[in-house]
C-alpha cells in the first residue's frame, strides 16, 4: 500500500539556517523511521514480494549504466504493482522514478513493461504475477530516467489524427442538441475509452520499425471520430485521407499485439481493419 510521507508541521523556526537544519534533521529522522517501519512491515507481512526494477539515470555518475535493483516489499492483500513501486520509493529509495497519478486506470500514466508485457501498474495485481516481478520502462521508447520514457512521439502521433470533434453540419437552431443515435454511440463506444497510455504503441512491432507509423492508439482515435455520424461526410473523407496515407492503416500487419495489451480492452485491430475497408471503399467509389 502507498505510505504517503507526512511532512512534519512543527517547523516554525525563525532563523533560516536553523530552519534548514531542523528540516534536514527531521527528514533524516523520517527516513530512519521509514526504514524501521519497513523492517516491521516486512516481518509482519504475510509474504514478502520481490520486485526487480529497471534503473537508469544519465545525470548521476555511476548510474549511467542501466541495471536492475531488487526491492523486498511486504505484500498485503490487494497490492498492485504500482503500490509496490510506491512502497519501494517511499521506504527504500526516494530517487526511484516513475509516472503515476490516478491509481485507477484512467490517467494513463503508468503503462509499464511488467513481467514481459505492457500493463498498467495500477491495474495489475501482484498476486496475478509470477514473483519476482520484473518492472521495466515501456519498450520502443527512449528511457529518460528509471521507468520514465519519453512520450512526446506518441503524443505527436495522436495529434496527427486531429483527435477532437469537428463538423460542418451543425444543427439549425443555436441551442439545438447535436444528437447521436444509440446505435452510432454503441459503434464508437469502445474506441472512446482510450486513456493515452501508449501500451499499444509500445507493443507494436511495426511501430517499432517505422517511426512514422501512426500506431494503434492514433488510428483508434481517428476511428472514434470517422465513425461518428455527426461529423458528416466531408469530415469523414478528410479523416480517411489522413489514415490511409503511407504510414497509416496499411502498415498494420494484424499481429494483434496492441489488442492484447490494451488495458481498456479496445478492439484495436478490429478498428484498424475496419478503417482499411473504409479506405478501400472510399477509393473504389466510382458511382
Amino acid at each position: 500500500m502507498s505510505t504517503q510521507i507526512q511532512e512534519s508541521e512543527t517547523e516554525t523556526e525563525t532563523e533560516e539556517t536553523s530552519e534548514h537544519q531542523t528540516r534536514r534533521l527531521a527528514e533524516k529522522r523520517e527516513r530512519a523511521d521509514m526504514a524501521e517501519r519497513a523492517e516491521t512491515d516486512l516481518s509482519g507481512a504475510d509474504e514478502t514480494a520481490r520486485i526487480k526494477v529497471f534503473r537508469y539515470d544519465p545525470e548521476v555518475e555511476g548510474k549511467k549504466d542501466p541495471r536492475f535493483d531488487t526491492f523486498e516489499i511486504p505484500f498485503t492483500k490487494g497490492m498492485t504493482v504500482l503500490d509496490a513501486l510506491i512502497y519501494a520509493r517511499d521506504h527504500f529509495d526516494s530517487s526511484l522514478t516513475f509516472r503515476h497519478s490516478c491509481r485507477q486506470a484512467i490517467c494513463g500514466s503508468d503503462a509499464l513493461f511488467i513481467n514481459g508485457r505492457q500493463r498498467l501498474g495500477c491495474k495489475t495485481q501482484m498476486v496475478d504475477l509470477e514473483w519476482p516481478v520484473q518492472i521495466e520502462p515501456l519498450p520502443h521508447a527512449e528511457v529518460v530516467k528509471d521507468l520514465v520514457v519519453d512520450m512526446e512521439h506518441f503524443y505527436d502521433q495522436m495529434e496527427a489524427v486531429e483527435p477532437y470533434f469537428q463538423t460542418n453540419d451543425l444543427p439549425d437552431g443555436e441551442l439545438e442538441e447535436q444528437k447521436q443515435t444509440r446505435e452510432n454511440r454503441e459503434k464508437v463506444k469502445m474506441s472512446t475509452r482510450c486513456i493515452w497510455c501508449s501500451a499499444c504503441m509500445s507493443s507494436c512491432n511495426i511501430a517499432a520499425g517505422d517511426n512514422k507509423y501512426l500506431g494503434p492508439a492514433a488510428i483508434n482515435k481517428a476511428y472514434r471520430f470517422a465513425m461518428d455520424h455527426r461529423e458528416g461526410e466531408d469530415m469523414k473523407e478528410h479523416r480517411i485521407n489522413i489514415i490511409e496515407q503511407e504510414h497509416g492503416v496499411w502498415r498494420c500487419q494484424t499481429q494483434f499485439s496492441c489488442t492484447e495489451v490494451c488495458p481498456k480492452d479496445i478492439p484495436l485491430t478490429e478498428h484498424i481493419q475496419e478503417l482499411k475497408r473504409e479506405a478501400v471503399k472510399s477509393n473504389l467509389k466510382f458511382w
Binding site: E142, V143, V144, T254, F256, E270, K276, R277
Partner: protein, 130 residues
C-alpha cells in the same frame, strides 16, 4: 532532457518468449510465404529440364527422388504450404473483420491441421525412401 537510453534488441525479437498467437502467425506467414517463393525457383529449374528431352526430365526427377534429403524437403514443403494456405484463409477473415475474437484459436487450428496433414503425408512421401 539531457540524455536518454535506447534499450535496443531486448525490446524486439529478444522477447520472443512473450509473443502471442497473432505475432507467431505473422512470423510463420512471412517465413512460409518466402519459402514458397524460394521453392518456385527450384521448381522452375527442375521442370525446365523437360525442355531438353523427356529422358533428361525423367532421370532428373528420379535422381532427386532417390535422395533421402529431397523426400524430407517435400514433407517440409507440404507443411509450409499447408500452413500458409490455412493461415492465409485466417488472414482473409481477419481482413474482412470476421471472427476477430477467435483469431488466436484460428491460428492454433491452422497449426493443428498443418500437423495432421503433414503427418498423414509422410507415408506417401517417404515410401521406398529407406
Amino acid at each position: 532532457m539531457s540524455q536518454s537510453y535506447d534499450r535496443g534488441l531486448i525490446e524486439d525479437f529478444g522477447r520472443w518468449q512473450e509473443f502471442s498467437a497473432g505475432m507467431w502467425a505473422w512470423i510463420f506467414h512471412k517465413f512460409t510465404g518466402w519459402v514458397l517463393i524460394g521453392y518456385l525457383f527450384t521448381h522452375v529449374a527442375v521442370l525446365s529440364t523437360a525442355t531438353v528431352d523427356g529422358a533428361t526430365y525423367t532421370s532428373t526427377l528420379q535422381g532427386l527422388e532417390s535422395l533421402l534429403l529431397v523426400r524430407f524437403l517435400e514433407v517440409g514443403l507440404l507443411a509450409v504450404a499447408a500452413f500458409h494456405i490455412l493461415n492465409g484463409i485466417r488472414l482473409l477473415f481477419v481482413d474482412l473483420g470476421v471472427g476477430l475474437g477467435a483469431q488466436d484459436k484460428a491460428f492454433y487450428a491452422a497449426l493443428v491441421a498443418t500437423a495432421a496433414v503433414t503427418v498423414a503425408s509422410i507415408p506417401t512421401f517417404l515410401v521406398g525412401a529407406f
